[in-house]
Symmetry: C2
Subunit: 216 residues, 2 copies
Amino acid sequence: MTPRMNTQRTDAQRMDAQNALDRLIILFSKLPGIGKKSAGRIAYHILDNNPALAHTLAKELSGLHQAIRRCGTCGGFTETDPCQVCCDPARDHSIICVVECAQDMRIIEDAREFPGVYHVLGGLIAPLEGVSPADLSIEKLAARLSGNASAVKVKELILALNPTIEGDTTALYLQKLFNSYDVEISRLASGMPVGGNIEYIDKLTLSRSFRGRVKV
Amino acid sequence: MTPRMNTQRTDAQRMDAQNALDRLIILFSKLPGIGKKSAGRIAYHILDNNPALAHTLAKELSGLHQAIRRCGTCGGFTETDPCQVCCDPARDHSIICVVECAQDMRIIEDAREFPGVYHVLGGLIAPLEGVSPADLSIEKLAARLSGNASAVKVKELILALNPTIEGDTTALYLQKLFNSYDVEISRLASGMPVGGNIEYIDKLTLSRSFRGRVKV
């Protein structure tokens, strides 16, 4: 029992590909981490659900760019400018944590480990992809370190950049650039993740764990 | 260097959790297959992107339930009633493929293997979850088989239900129910997936592969 497909349907199907459901699936599949199958599953879930879900989602999406802007000080996403972190007097404004993007700032905030303020670079130096230091928010960072932008003197700069080639390059660049400034520059420890296993760790990470070993 | 977290920020953070970005992340994380981290990644992607993406997505979502309804014949999602499959004269209306949900219908359509028409049950019989045959679109299927609903006599019913306990139960129920009808009832072959490995296949699937072996 193998009924052959009728090839004449192809054109009708292509036209059908323009209906509202297909358009939504195509849109969803363009979002990061969502493939074609997941996009279908999500669209059908929304369609099966109460229309209120679709309307709430639509409302939030259409208002998103009006509600959220970039903080003029740190560059993170916020509803108020300056953002809640930058204008919080309870935070330590003498420590700046430098991150690649606003999402990294959020992740560090969620860990509730860092009491200082942030600076979002907006990317990492990547010559092969055409990203040079001029494309990043480095001038603004320099202004913050010089004390022109704020009343509080910055004492420490924590570079919370990914331990990748681009992250290392950017960290090295910033370190050299701010060498003459009266500011302590550190970088997040690189090594074995908690719960990790020496057996499965790559050589580079193991080597970094050795070099960065901590006295007990 | 282990700066301790300032616990006074907790309340401010809770208030912050009500901003537009957080609301969107919460909404996304409720969709199937999207966790908290993916939801954050998607929301930041939309925010980083041109506002046009957010607006297009919002427009499609808000118009979705108006544009898409259920086909009165097969029960699939469609912009026109009856749907493009049900009113396509090029398709074989004497073969009905019975599927659990509208998404399964779409997946089978994408495979371009089946030339007939569909019937969406809207679920599977699952007594433990309180889903009885009365909750499914079985009466409508019976009407289609009796020839009351359409001019074309239905000759074959292909049960394209998942090879799970619920799928097996529903298939058995339908088989018994339509036993007296003059219609051939078949079920999708169950066995090893193409590209699969006997070494890793579970016993039940292997046993089904043996029972459903095909002459070469």
